[in-house]
Symmetry: C2
Subunit: 435 residues, 2 copies
Amino acid sequence: MATPLRIALAGLGTVGAGVIRLLEANGALIERRAGRPIQITAVSARDRTKDRGVDLSPYAWEDDMTAMAARDDVDVVVELVGGSDGPALTLARNTLQSGKSLVTANKAMIAHHGLSLAQSAEAQGVALKYEAAVAGGIPVVKGMREGAAANVIERIYGILNGTCNYVLSTMEDTGRDFDDVLKEAQDLGYAEADPGFDIDGVDAAHKLSILASIAFGTRLDFQAVDMIGITRVRAADIAQAASLGYVIRLIGMADVDHDDEGARLLQRVQPYLVPLDHPLAAVDGPTNAVVAEGNFVGRLLFQGAGAGDGPTASAVMADIIDIARGELGAPFSIPVAELEEMPRADAGHRISRTYLRFIVADRPGVLAEITAAMRDAGVSIESLIQKGEPANGDDVLVAIVTHEAPEHCITEALKLLEGSASITEPPLVMRLLGS
Amino acid sequence: MATPLRIALAGLGTVGAGVIRLLEANGALIERRAGRPIQITAVSARDRTKDRGVDLSPYAWEDDMTAMAARDDVDVVVELVGGSDGPALTLARNTLQSGKSLVTANKAMIAHHGLSLAQSAEAQGVALKYEAAVAGGIPVVKGMREGAAANVIERIYGILNGTCNYVLSTMEDTGRDFDDVLKEAQDLGYAEADPGFDIDGVDAAHKLSILASIAFGTRLDFQAVDMIGITRVRAADIAQAASLGYVIRLIGMADVDHDDEGARLLQRVQPYLVPLDHPLAAVDGPTNAVVAEGNFVGRLLFQGAGAGDGPTASAVMADIIDIARGELGAPFSIPVAELEEMPRADAGHRISRTYLRFIVADRPGVLAEITAAMRDAGVSIESLIQKGEPANGDDVLVAIVTHEAPEHCITEALKLLEGSASITEPPLVMRLLGS
């Protein structure tokens, strides 16, 4: 019989238990595909006594998970603890330094420390794999690292956070407002009690920065991601978007500017208006989807479940199978030392149609003030809707869609309106995604 | 410098020239991702003098392409000649037997001879790779072989032929009839002068049989694919489908029946009615898309360009990069000797809603005859539309959608109607895809 690949599992939450269930259910098939048995030898979690619905008795128990890196009976450590630093990072470092491979679902840790971990893996000739860290069960890390490897990637973007997509698509389906839908999502377990990581765009930004590094061959740079979350999107915005033939989706997008000063990387997470005929418009609920545009392959779309124990366990196990098959290549497709350090692009010259929503006092001259600012900034208005009914106390909503305009002109128009007594809350700005 | 991987290219049609252009355009990037240079050393095609828009002078020329298998300066032969047998197969066999890896875009050859070629590759410890043979640029072979490898696949289906999808979606957009749109597709180069391979479903069946083997771990069995093409789909069928909230797509679908007698494989290529809220309904033009449903990952969707020189060259080069990285694993995910021989399933007990379209003489009693046959076969009618205007000479069209019924009941109803003087051409039967 072929030598088993021996696994230690750190973290026995829903995903960790899911990995055990997956191996129980599909173990024989996995062995045939991997060419050798995959055996869990040791596990570790905070509470040994908790009932997780799986039998832990076959496995050695470690109270201190970082000790798993030193075990002789372990080839691969699977880190499912979470957190960008702390014990997860210590375990990851120890594992790689001791010449074992690491598989992780930890997007925060990869976004913050992926390069140093990858260097450690490369130095030791072991694998660092993190398919489950991006878009749950969708094999998009593999798709970019290998499937699209022959291409210069021109743009990569997608729906990377299931919680936000659930909230936005539920608002769309029900007409209900943000706070209401978020609360329901929390009650249903789709959103965390502290939802900031999701709704402020941090989680999507983690994933985007990882994808961008693989796609563009650049040094992973999470700090350079511009983030705007979805907390300020109202039911009225979704209704306005619908009347224009758009839905609103939180999208992470990255591409590269080339000009005389060289290449610059733009990474951002923002709510966009997505036209109904775009494949991302049909992505509802907690589903994730990633679009990659390559110079030879054209547009690729990868779609599937962005979270959940089953899909995440599937991605974790795909990484383990790769390792069992001997596929241990560079974690970011190109060795870390060869990744390009690319400065952050300024988005000011980017041209797009833009949705601007104002909440204004319902009094004479407000529209004149807004439209004058747009004119003075050189922004041409395609459509303007002022809703009759009050949107906030006595205040009313004004929604504008501009013709194509550089972003710096939009910024300038908003600057001209700063301090206006008529505008009662900061305007909401969302770009329209092209088809 | 790392040792170059040396490539011989057999076939310099649009895809072969595309591979050369891809390497010219993206060679430096590909070298970084592959970890070593990819060098074309020799090329072969029928006509040496033809202008292909690429410079062939750097490469050795072979008049006899099968000779490339014996060259000392070649590590990988890329077969882009086509045809299930003949010189392509000879080259493939010689290449593998001489211990070189083979990359091919040849779906017919893989569908007919994939297993024997894979055995030869396994025996020699070299790679047989064929990403470009299925769904053009979409990395779905990799997605199934590796990305979804931890799953029992419950069903795999998709839009696998761009020509058919172009014809059907153009009929849908324009209301024009089949012959008219096919002719236009031929004029535009989207369909072959002899379109049978595409429109009769053979090409989709080649691809489906390959995907099914990887997905289910079964011996590739192209002969067992049931095929119904799109030649009998009329504009009126598309209009009827639209009125019900469906579009018509040619879909290849495979799944496994489990009963007391063991597992049986159902593979078929048929036009289906696809509900508008299904991701495949939005797949227009020559785009391909594959859905795989796994027991842990849930539903995965892979979508992209199904043909064309750029996308196909991208898939070919992804295989070459894999080989350069040392990824040479079993061509069908599991070694050929371990693939299961699975008998063909009988579809009779499958339950679905079904669309039946009759062309009938416009005279009294026709509807009574049809509806009586349905009743006698135990098929319940959900909706029935008889169009007033003539569909064919004086004959008129009757379209029926049934409630869920086993396929053998539908077959029985049609048998009862066989030889009816009122029904002037064989009925068209299409199943409705679930959401």
